[in-house]
Every structure is written in structure tokens, then in C-alpha cells.
Symmetry: C2
Amino acid sequence: MNYNKITIADGARAELHDSLKLTGAEISVNVLPAGGGVPFVHSHKQNEEIYAVLEGRGTALIDGERVDLKANDWLRISPSAKRQIFAAADKPLKYLCIQVKENSLEGYTLTDAVL
Amino acid sequence: MNYNKITIADGARAELHDSLKLTGAEISVNVLPAGGGVPFVHSHKQNEEIYAVLEGRGTALIDGERVDLKANDWLRISPSAKRQIFAAADKPLKYLCIQVKENSLEGYTLTDAVL
């Protein structure tokens, strides 16, 4: 199959690897309620994580450093960094988390495209 | 540096690889005006592309097949597929395009995370 398409219900949490048949990334769509947070700190063995904030406000704690988050913010976090994500007290936080293997990208855009 | 953060201006087009210091993906934030489209067909040598529709409606032409797009839709397109993206006649299309090397992901989530 040369493509797959799925539709995510508005406001739903979803992990896309299996449903989209991804082979180069895992992507999750996440919504933390106001005052909520991911209940654990984690790091990664191999994967760079990229966070895209779609709506709301929140905070990332990265190796103990507090990083404010709002819509249109993007974060890249190195595999070994310890991270935890929280929504603001008064607003839900909707964000994407994209996992890719660190240093796996070779060419891209002009060097990978065929016109 | 264990992380990088950037903020994209609302409605702006942006390519994130260099500004976010990405090593496993290239990501672009795109806005096509109503009636507009990417002016060329392209495919890729190595990279899987993942499209996330954030706002609006449009169409992807994939190997000549017409695929309707609306907010909350996600598409995975194989490297060799010929693709072209269009906004609907009456609505702009805001979308992300994520390029990753096909088959580059090894572990993820539970098999790559360290708690």
C-alpha cells in the first residue's frame, strides 16, 4: 500500500505507529487536562523526541529545568534527558509527541526528493 | 544541549530541521491558501512522509488517487509514491509534513523508554 490515512477523533489520545503503519517514527496525539501531567519522568535509549504544542499552555521539566510551553512551540529533546510534561493549572494542553531514532535522518527535502 | 525550543509565528511556513537541531526527522509547518496547492509532484528516495492536517480542508493526489483531507486526518506516504497537496477552493489548509527515513525506527515507547 503506497499510503495510509486515519482520522483522529477531536480531543482523543492516539498512538499512530500501528494504525498508520509507520516505519520511521512513532507519533502520539495527547491531551492533558488543566492541572494534569504525565505521571512519570522518563528518558529514552535511542529516540529523539519532538513535541509540538497545538493548543493550551503547560510546562516541560527537562533535567530539572522548567520550560514554558504554549501553542506553536516546538521542543526537541535528546534521548538521555529526563523529561515530564504538565498542563497549566487553568488550561488543557494538546500536543504531539514524535519519536524518531537519533541521527537516523540522512537526506531530506532537496537531497531526498525526486521531482 | 539536551533540548531546543522554538516558537513558530501563527500562520507562518517553517522548516524545523536546522532551527530545532533535529537529527531524526525534518518537519515543516505549512499553510496553503484557499485554492492553492504545492506546484509540483514529488516522491522521495528514502523518506517516508507523514502529513497531519491541523486546520482546513484539501486533497492529496497520491499516484493519481484523490484522497480528501480535513482537520485531524493523518497520512503516511511511502517514499516512491508520487504526491501533490492542494487546499480546498474555499478554505486554507494548515498541515505538518514529517520526513523520516523509512524503516529507521527500532524500539519505541515501552521498548525505548527508561523510567
